[in-house]
């Protein structure tokens, strides 16, 4: 019995002593501060400086930031951060590079707001966020630019840091980022807007939600990313996920409907930086009210180009990968195709009036994909921008030397015809059904006619005028009565 007490007590004593040392005495941050104090001591110029360095206390240091809901203890190890004499040292004693601390004082901002990591931690492992349960490791680590990788590092750490700027510098002007020296981020925003990403994605209230919501994508944790189809040889980091996804969407998300966009490596990198910068953690979102207004071409590129093509050429099918040809895409099955009307062509430009265009744009149109209603409430597009896009389309007409068509929707007189007879005409060989499909279902070469939005918008006169104006290859031998019958048949699809 007594021997148990003896052994047990000794064990307890030993463990307690070890513990006292382990957590209180032999800490790395104490060692670094001691080294720093010694450095300062040797660098001391005179007696006054020397006595003040002697009074330098070895203690835990922190910055408490209630507005950010953070506590940053980085300065416990990184003691020399604000000391200009420490520029030659190695980390953690090295002073902070650049002059960013001049207007980003450590006491006001802390460190993790830009660099991520776990501010409360007090060991390297914990503070740098290497614990797998800390969702926001140090930015460098989220990329894990491995020194052993053969290929060049995909992104530099200064570029990566720019993804933190946007949390505060999301002021009204979409492109002001460039003024503060975050060029990569600025170019990323530019590429994003210019390639029609907002046609399918939404960021802080601007854009559409055909694709996934991107506001706050920068907050997504590594464990929330799906790497199951990720290429084996690439390292599984957040940066790499986005990089690969932009490079070749289906290699990461096999069922993705995101088209392949031809971007250079530099451009892809900058867009990923922008995506990573979209963090919501405690910050004011970019107000969609205060956004800079885009011109016609910019607005078209931002909101429409994703489906209708950069130059309005439309998409018969969407190219999903650089390697795939259109034929291969078509073979893959109808369900993967998204047809978006070609806008920049003679036939459409000569038959569709500005009024019709405006109605279609503002109301939206159901189809193989839904074209959302382009209102400020829905997609954050300004009415002036809608006007500008319509003006742009008018400019396309000018390039073809086409005059703006009259708005025939004003003429809502119903055209009378026999829909049964019209059905026969419609389904004749070489007639409407060949391009407009069975029962007006549409095809790659001609729009859907049984579309409810279209039928509601288009008047009979408009349909007749389009038929008569040789839109696509309408058979030329139809009599007026036959055309009226066809129109009645088309009307019969309207619910």
């Amino acid at each position: 019995m007594k021997i148990i007490i003896l052994i047990g007590s000794s064990i307890i004593l030993i463990v307690l002593l070890l513990e006292a040392y382990h957590e209180n005495l032999g800490m790395a941050w104490q060692a670094y501060q001691t080294v720093y104090r010694k450095e300062m001591s040797t660098e001391a110029q005179n007696k006054d400086e020397k006595s003040s360095t002697d009074r330098y206390e070895i203690k835990m240091r922190q910055v408490v930031l209630p507005e950010f809901n953070r506590v940053d203890r980085c300065i416990s190890c990184h003691v020399g951060m604000e000391d200009p004499r420490m520029t030659e040292k190695t980390n953690p004693l090295k002073s902070h590079p650049g002059d960013i601390l001049e207007n980003h004082e450590v006491e006001k901002f802390g460190c993790t707001i830009c660099h991520e990591g776990q501010g409360r931690g007090i060991t390297t492992f914990q503070a740098h966020g290497q614990d797998r349960y800390w969702p926001y490791p140090l930015l460098d680590l989220s990329v894990k630019v491995a020194a052993t990788s053969e290929s060049k590092p995909k992104v530099s750490s200064t570029d990566l840091l720019q993804s933190s700027c946007y949390q505060c510098h999301n002021a009204p002007d979409l492109f002001r980022i460039a003024d503060i020296g975050a060029e990569t981020l600025a170019s990323g925003i530019g590429v994003f807007v210019d390639n029609g990403c907002l046609s399918c994605h939404r960021v802080n209230g601007v854009g559409t939600n055909s694709g996934i919501e991107l506001s706050g994508i920068g907050d997504k944790q590594l464990s929330e990313y799906d790497f199951s189809s990720f290429p084996e040889e690439e390292e599984k980091t957040i940066f790499n996920w986005h990089y690969q996804h932009l490079k070749n969407p289906r290699s990461v998300v096999p069922t993705s409907l995101m088209p392949y966009i031809d971007l250079s490596e530099k451009e892809i990198r900058s867009v990923v930086i922008y995506l990573l910068s979209l963090k919501k953690r405690g910050y004011s979102e970019l107000s969609k009210f205060a956004r800079k207004r885009l011109g016609g071409k910019e607005a078209f590129r931002a909101f429409c180009a994703g489906c209708h093509g950069r130059n309005g050429q439309g998409n018969v099918t969407i190219q999903f990968a650089k390697e795939n040809t259109v034929e291969e895409e078509l073979l893959e099955g109808k369900k993967d195709r998204v047809i978006a009307t070609s806008l920049n062509n003679r036939n459409l430009l000569s038959s569709v009036s500005d009024q019709f265009l405006r109605q279609a744009i503002v109301n939206g149109r159901r189809g193989t994909r839904i074209m959302p209603a382009s209102t400020f409430e829905n997609t954050g597009i300004f009415p002036e921008e809608v006007d500008a896009v319509i003006k742009l389309i008018d400019e396309w007409r000018k390039e073809y030397n086409i005059a703006a068509p009259k708005n025939l929707d004003l003429d809502r007189t119903e055209i009378k015809g026999d829909s049964e007879k019209g059905k026969i005409v419609y389904h004749m060989k070489d007639s409407c059904s060949q391009c407009h499909g069975e029962n007006g279902a549409g095809s790659e070469v001609a729009p859907q006619l049984n579309n409810q939005d279209f039928l509601q918008l288009a008047s009979d006169s408009y349909i007749k005028s389009t038929i008569l104006s040789d839109r696509m290859s309408v058979p030329s031998n139809l009599t007026d009565e036959q055309i009226n019958n066809v129109i009645a048949y088309i009307r019969s699809w309207q619910k």
Partner: protein
């Protein structure tokens, strides 16, 4: 005359001052040096904490292989929990926006905070294991008999309190582990819905909904639940626990001390110290022999001026034994706390469920049953088990010798075969369900109420009951039936807990190894 008195007074003053250490000591320690049995008794009786114990203890109670010190181990870990818990309370903040960060600060910044938190976590596990083992010890030595039946019930109350204490504490770090384990627990509380839905009366009588809101203080886990759990964990339940613990120990005294056999051989007490009182009066005589002329009553001896045979003063032997157990417990907990950190995952995120979301380990066996039917596995079966445990001393009233593990050869044999029976049946059940699935896999449209009543849990319970009845018939003894039933459940609990811990992965699917889990 006046002057003399004054001088005497001043002299007295300085004498008193000089004598202060001795007079203080005498006022504080009111017993003599422990050189006689009377002095030893005085020591105990004059101390608030020590006088919970009796002044004399039977040598058999000090036998290590008898009690294994499990009760003391449980109390020791409880003490460690109290002290470390109070220390943790200095920095912990029970608010959902502050809790997680306060635990992080305890880990990182508070001097030895990591260690204290680990001590708290490991003492919990040790306490739970020793509490279960203590219950098993008391059961197998039939120590619930001879008037100790009420104390057995108090012990069950303590068991339930321990489990609830552990469960409420689990939520406090407010991390993913905590949040989702509590989700499971609160959903089990709400599982009455399974029954009322099947009967179609939920809109009239929603016991499940009521229970869940009672537990959480709200429809979902949020600040109300955290406040409530904190209140229970640091104030209400410890107070109730200490109350019942006092009753438990008081009853041990009133029931005549720890149980012991009627006939104890000398060799059974080898190695245990003796006292002046320990010798039997008739030292030369064989222990079993009785004297017809004297008409000795069982268990007492006609001695004058001395205590019963085989007893000795509690001071110091009993306290050395208790101290030894306490120190051993503390040493083990310290070693574990130094090397192994208590887990802390990401901050609780209601939008991202853990998959698999697992209850704390001592509930995992239950969760395995809950995976078929929350109501049956989470409410009914535990309720039935608790009821069964509570009824043991009232159903098994056979008179027998107590204080011996498994009583006798028959008991040992039955425990042995019940162990293997349960092993085979439980593992067989698990193999069957893993490979072939259960009712839902074979008949996808089957109503849940059928599965509520026909699932591995209910089948195991019924099988075990049949087995114990069979044993009862064969041995014509309720005690034997009790041994077989208890053993079956104990083995089932251990196997199910192990199985759910190591072999259940995401979506509660079966995996041989954790490395095979998909995702993450």
């Amino acid at each position: 005359m006046e002057n003399k008195k004054k001088l005497d007074a001043i002299g007295m003053f300085f004498t008193n001052l000089r004598d202060f250490p001795k007079t203080f000591r005498q006022s504080f320690i009111r017993h003599d040096k422990a050189t006689s049995d009377r002095a030893r008794s005085q020591r105990i009786l004059s101390n608030l904490f020590l006088h919970i114990h009796s002044t004399k203890v039977h040598r058999f109670s000090l036998k290590p292989t008898f009690t294994l010190g499990l009760g003391v181990c449980a109390v020791s870990s409880f003490l460690i929990l109290l002290i470390t818990g109070v220390m943790l309370m200095v920095y912990y903040k029970p608010s959902i926006s502050l809790a997680y960060d306060s635990v992080k600060d305890i880990q990182f910044v508070v001097p030895s905070g990591r260690f204290i938190r680990n001590l708290h976590r490991w003492a919990t596990y040790i306490m739970l294991v020793s509490v279960f083992a203590h219950m098993a010890r008391v059961f197998y030595t039939a120590s619930y008999k001879r008037g100790r039946s009420f104390n057995w019930l108090i012990g069950l109350v303590l068991l339930v309190l321990t489990l609830i204490l552990s469960f409420t504490g689990y939520l406090l770090p407010w991390d993913q582990l905590a949040y989702w384990a509590t989700t499971i627990g609160s959903n089990i509380a709400g599982s009455f819905r399974e029954l009322t839905d099947a009967l179609g009366i939920t809109h009239v009588l929603d016991i499940g909904g009521f229970m869940k809101v009672l537990v959480l203080g709200s429809e979902e886990i949020g600040q109300e639940a955290l406040t409530r759990f904190y209140w229970l964990h640091v104030m209400v339940l410890p107070a109730v626990f200490v109350l019942f613990l006092s009753i438990h120990m008081w009853r041990i005294r009133k029931d005549g001390g720890l149980s012991r056999p009627d006939n104890i051989r000398e060799d059974e007490l080898k190695g245990i110290p003796k006292g002046d009182l320990s010798e039997s009066v008739f030292s030369g005589a064989p222990p079993e022999k009785t004297y017809g002329l004297m008409g000795l009553v069982k268990g007492t001896s006609p001695a004058v001026g001395r205590g019963p045979e085989q007893t000795l003063s509690s001071w110091p032997t009993l306290f050395i034994a208790e101290l030894a157990v306490f120190v051993a417990t503390l040493a083990v907990v310290c070693i574990l706390a130094f090397f192994l950190d208590a887990p802390l995952k990401e901050m609780a995120n209601p939008a991202v469920p853990e998959n698999p979301a697992k209850a704390p380990w001592y509930f995992l066996g239950l969760q395995e049953l809950v995976s078929y039917s929350a109501f049956m596995g989470g409410v009914v079966i535990p309720g039935v088990v608790l009821l069964g445990l509570g009824l043991i001393p009232y159903l098994d009233r056979e008179e027998q010798e107590i204080g011996r593990w498994f009583d006798n050869k028959a008991g040992k044999h039955v425990a042995f075969i019940s162990f293997f029976f349960s092993l085979i049946v439980v593992i067989g059940m698990l193999v069957l369900t893993v490979n072939l699935g259960w009712l839902r896999n074979w008949f996808p449209q089957i109503p849940q109420i059928v599965i509520t009543f026909v699932n591995p849990g209910t089948i195991l319970v019924i099988t075990f009951m049949f087995w114990s009845f069979r044993c009862m018939e064969k041995y014509k003894s309720i005690r034997i039936a009790a041994i077989s039933l208890f053993t079956c459940f104990l083995v089932a609990y251990v196997i199910l807990t192990y199985f759910a811990t190591y072999h259940r992965g995401p979506n509660w699917d079966f995996y041989w190894l954790k490395s095979q889990w998909p995702g993450h």
